[in-house]
């Protein structure tokens, strides 16, 4: 997690904010956030409105949950990068940082991984996201 915070600072230095969205409510999300020491916002889309707007509602599971996906969105609200499902977790922090820095400088990213099946960046999110998925059980305490 120390690693993680360091990377978060790097992203912010490159002008990139970071948020994660699920359909879980705050009561469910906040203890997990604290337990994992996550320093960026975990947004609670309990109405599924945003998940639907992004075309990511998986209605086959538990009344509808988000399909895993990652986006890099620039200040004009244009999507500069997108990774869906499994691809979203096959990524490395160095590559995403490089992408963020290039975008931050107004340079078109050199890497065009849309068809490569390998998303540059976001590897550092994987551990956290896996933990969010598997690591912490519902608070039946």
């Amino acid at each position: 997690m120390a690693d993680y915070s360091r990377h978060l600072d790097d992203f912010r230095a490159a002008g990139a904010e970071l948020v994660a969205i699920s359909v879980d409510d705050a009561a469910r999300t906040e203890p997990v956030r604290q337990e994992l020491g996550i320093k960026f916002p975990l947004l609670c889309d309990t109405s599924r409105e945003v998940v639907k707007k992004y075309g990511l509602l998986n209605s086959r599971e538990k009344g509808g949950i988000a399909l895993p996906a990652s986006f890099v969105i620039d200040r004009e609200r244009v999507v500069r990068f997108r990774a869906l499902e499994d691809v979203a977790s096959r990524v490395s922090v160095d590559q995403l940082l490089e992408l963020a820095r290039e975008l931050g400088r107004g340079v078109e990213p050199k890497t065009k991984p849309r068809n490569s099946g390998v998303f540059p960046g976001l590897m550092f999110l994987r551990a956290t996201m896996n933990a969010l998925r598997h690591g912490v059980h519902s608070p039946n305490k």
Partner: protein, 46 residues
Amino acid sequence: MDEREIPSVGEKAPEFALADSTGVVRRLDDLIAGGMCIVVFYRGHW
């Protein structure tokens, strides 16, 4: 899932304003104001 509904590279991302787990409302427009925002959708508990 219909991938055509998911915003692609070069398209506008839908606006949103959502409360985080501490109750603070976060707007995409504010999050991108400094340059860009990485938005990750995750499954959550199951």
